[in-house]
């Protein structure tokens, strides 16, 4: 952390997006996390993704729970809507917000404690329901705010900073998300922005529940030998199945790959996901195969990263509920609450 605010001085040739904003305009307050925290890199990746996508900051709602990870929305998109919920309750609040105003871009930011322990039921149901959101779990395997106890995602056999071995079976949120119906599922690493930024962009432009599990080393409590979530361990065991290039409809596509090397997926809004294959047989549209692959590699001690599953024709909660196109919060009281006569008429029609 640092006590000083970033100087406002800007390079004169700082790039601007089509809205006229610089990257700096997507930043938030100065981070108070430990120096070197992976979470700060994820914040920087979010900043870059939103800048690249020309997202209007005031059209984004960022929601989080409790924990180091859940502090981070303060450190990016300073001009967006924000909500710090009670511990683990972010998915419910996000669901409610998304139902009330479907026009905003929803970003849920959580951690392994917030999502895999206290909030695991909330996590599960938000995925099940198909809420249109980008759900990022900043996963470091420890409770950083309470001095580094193992969290529910810590691998069995991994060692704490004090040398204690974890004997509990880990929860893999990616596996859960796949099983529970998330339609865009990815895993990445805070130390690899080249992989992470396009994954966030793809998620932000995906319709339906998009989940990204980002392994984010805790430099203070979980970056030692014996940890399976340290910078070194993740770099050594990273098994990236593909590399994503995210392409906006307005961008020119000029890639030259031999047939079979590249998979092209068009999302509902016309944006294109270019997946360069790193694992020849990996098929990101096959959910069952993805789940199998994940388990196989996990058994070998490898960390599977990349865009693991995507269903570009997925539908979201609003479609399931058949809600009107206009956001509910813009409908007006008279329309939303038509009065007792209308209720009586409705009741009568069901008798």
């Amino acid at each position: 952390m640092t006590y000083l605010a970033k100087p406002k001085l800007l390079r004169t040739d700082a790039p601007r997006n089509t809205l006229g904003y610089t990257r700096r305009d997507y930043e938030g307050a100065i981070s108070t996390l430990c120096a070197g925290c992976g979470h700060d890199s994820i914040s920087a990746a979010v900043v870059q993704a939103c800048f690249d996508l020309d997202i209007e900051p005031h059209r984004v709602a960022k929601l989080s729970g409790i924990g180091c990870s859940s502090k981070t929305p303060d450190y990016f998109l300073g001009a967006s809507h924000g909500f710090n919920t009670t511990h683990g309750r972010m998915p419910s609040v996000l669901t409610g917000a998304a139902l009330a105003n479907r026009d905003l871009t929803y970003m849920g930011v959580s951690g392994d404690g917030d999502s895999a322990s206290i909030g695991i039921s909330q996590f599960a149901h938000a995925m099940r329901r198909g809420v249109n959101m980008t759900y990022i779990c900043e996963n470091n395997g420890v409770y950083g705010l309470t001095k580094g106890q193992f969290s529910a995602t810590a691998d069995k056999g991994s060692k704490s900073k004090r040398g204690v071995v974890n004997n509990d079976t880990p929860i893999d949120l990616v596996a859960l998300a796949l099983q529970l119906g998330a339609s865009y599922v990815a895993r990445s690493f805070s130390g690899d922005k080249e992989q992470l930024i396009p994954l966030i962009k793809g998620a932000l432009r995906h319709r339906g529940p998009a989940f990204i599990d980002v392994i984010s080393p805790c430099v203070t409590f979980n970056n030692h030998a014996g940890s399976t979530k340290s910078y070194d361990y993740v770099r050594e065991h990273n098994d990236a199945v593909n590399r994503l290039d995210f392409i906006l409809p307005r961008d020119q596509i000029n890639t030259s790959y031999a047939p079979g090397e590249l998979r092209r997926i068009v999302q509902h809004d016309g944006s294109v996901l270019h997946l360069r294959k790193l694992e020849a047989d990996y098929d990101p549209s096959d959910r069952v195969a993805a789940m199998n692959y994940l388990q196989e590699r996990h058994a070998l001690g490898e960390i599977v990263t990349g865009l693991l599953y995507v269903d570009s024709s997925a539908e979201d909660l609003h479609r399931h509920l058949n809600t009107v196109e206009k956001p509910l919060n813009q409908l007006g009281d008279a329309y939303l609450c038509p009065g007792s006569k209308a209720l009586d008429a409705l009741n009568a029609s069901l008798r």
Binding site: M1, K8, L9, R11, D13, A35, G36, D40, D232, R235
Partner: protein
Amino acid sequence: MKPTNIGGHDYFHKVVDCQWACPAHTPVPEYIRLIAAGHYSDAYMINWRSNVFPGILGRVCDRPCEPACRRGRVDKEPVAICRLKRVAADLKDDITGRLPRPQKTNGKRIACVGAGPASLTVARDLAVLGYQITVFDNGAAPGGMMRSQIPKFRLPDDVIDEECGYIIGLGVETRYNQWVGSLRDLMAEGWDAVFVGTGAPRGRDAPIPGREEAAKHIHIGIDWLANVAFGHTTKISKRVIVLGGGNTAMDCCRSARRLGGDDVKVIVRSGFEEMKASPWEKEEAIHEGIPIINMRVPKEFRHENGKLTGVLFEIVRAEYDAKGRRSLIPTGEPDEFHECDEVLVAIGQENAFPWIEKDIGLEFDKWDMPVLNEKTLQSTLPNVFFGGDAALGPKNIITAAAQGHEAAISIDLFCRGKKLDDRPPPQFNLVSQKMGIHEWSYDNQVSEEERKKVPVKALEKTLKDIKLELEMGFDPFMACAEAERCLNCDVETVFTGKTCIECDACVDICPTECITFTANGEEDDLRGRLKAPAKNHDQALYVSEDLKTGRVMVKDENICLHCGMCAERCPTGAWDMQKFFMQCAEAGTEARRT
């Protein structure tokens, strides 16, 4: 690219743009910090050692440091380095006790011809070492062209007296009012070495029709300025045209304005931007109600019965050939006539050495300039050295001081029978500024204030009195605010690849996106691949050795704010902020033993 060699002084010196640009390599950020802290005398002495005339230069320096200032690349204007130097001179305590005491005499006698900045610098550097110095000048007081040509409203006499006095006070013998008419005769007096610092004393003339007929009303700028400086000229006609676009022209027009010229115009051959005068001097002239008319080549002085009536100008435009050379092409418009009563010709200065005999072994080149070793400033007569405008052509005071230092080193080596090419290296060190987890021994918060303007006296007052200094200098509060604008470029970002865990914390926090971790490559390729492309090729890339992932850290030095945020965010201390302090060698410093 190969890993950057940060071992010597060159790499980090170049990062300190102001110090690199200063001919005397004054440690600028160091003295600016001292000014912010109120240690004016310390700030003065750092300047005094490097550039000898802080009070003078703080008023009239050409300030090559300011266009180089990094702040100018991230903010509207650079730090007011020059005027901060004046603050140190204005607000210091009595510093006579801090001046060096001359060592016991070594019996060597050195003659310095001219009492300008170059000669006086030689005198100071050598007098301290025990040399017996004698300074010759045809004027009545030391200072040379600083005294004779710079108007008093910019540089009052008492400032010159004080700073020249510190040098003369080191036991330097002076022979004022003595014109040295023959180098042969001077050499015959048996000096161990002779230093020539006679400046560029001849003003260039404009030999166009009417020049001779109207001679009474046409003056050479530098001669006229000297007459004004010494009180021989006290008034000028109402309508004055100044020919020329350099700083002398600006001094001429502003002096004329103060001596009765109501309608003073500067008329220049070149365009406004290409004028040689410093931008701030042009601004000041305009501020005093003097129009600057560009793209006019003087064609004829018009006169009636020996009285000047005006000047005829041809209107031109500039054209540049493929090599960027300019030629002035007449536009074909009818010539323009400007009425006036007097003309000041300030179109350049030339060297002249009528007192140096051509047959004593001192060679001159085809431009009648002495043949010199540009590094040692030694002439073809081994015991004769040159410096200042007399050496390599007219430049400025700070260059004269820098050359004075070099000549003094050469003279000292020469008198001790050593090789002149063994130049003593500068002294430098690099020390961590870390005081605590987020504490540095420098103020790393970047000020966002705008450049402060130096307060000036009311125009109606100053235009009436040519000796009244226009600028009042910064007060301590303004000085502190301006000093805080300095980015502390001498507090260097030093990277240790061995301890880096490549967490990207520095990349994410850097406010100007200077840092990138990427695969190594050739320089041009790397420059294009950085987080923010490094387009300023004058500024170095700092490249680390290969890191664990096989990538390298590349930092574009161009617009680093030296805020230290990379070091504050670094979990392993791979980044550290270290102060680079370098002072050039002085005469008497020993060359490094090899």
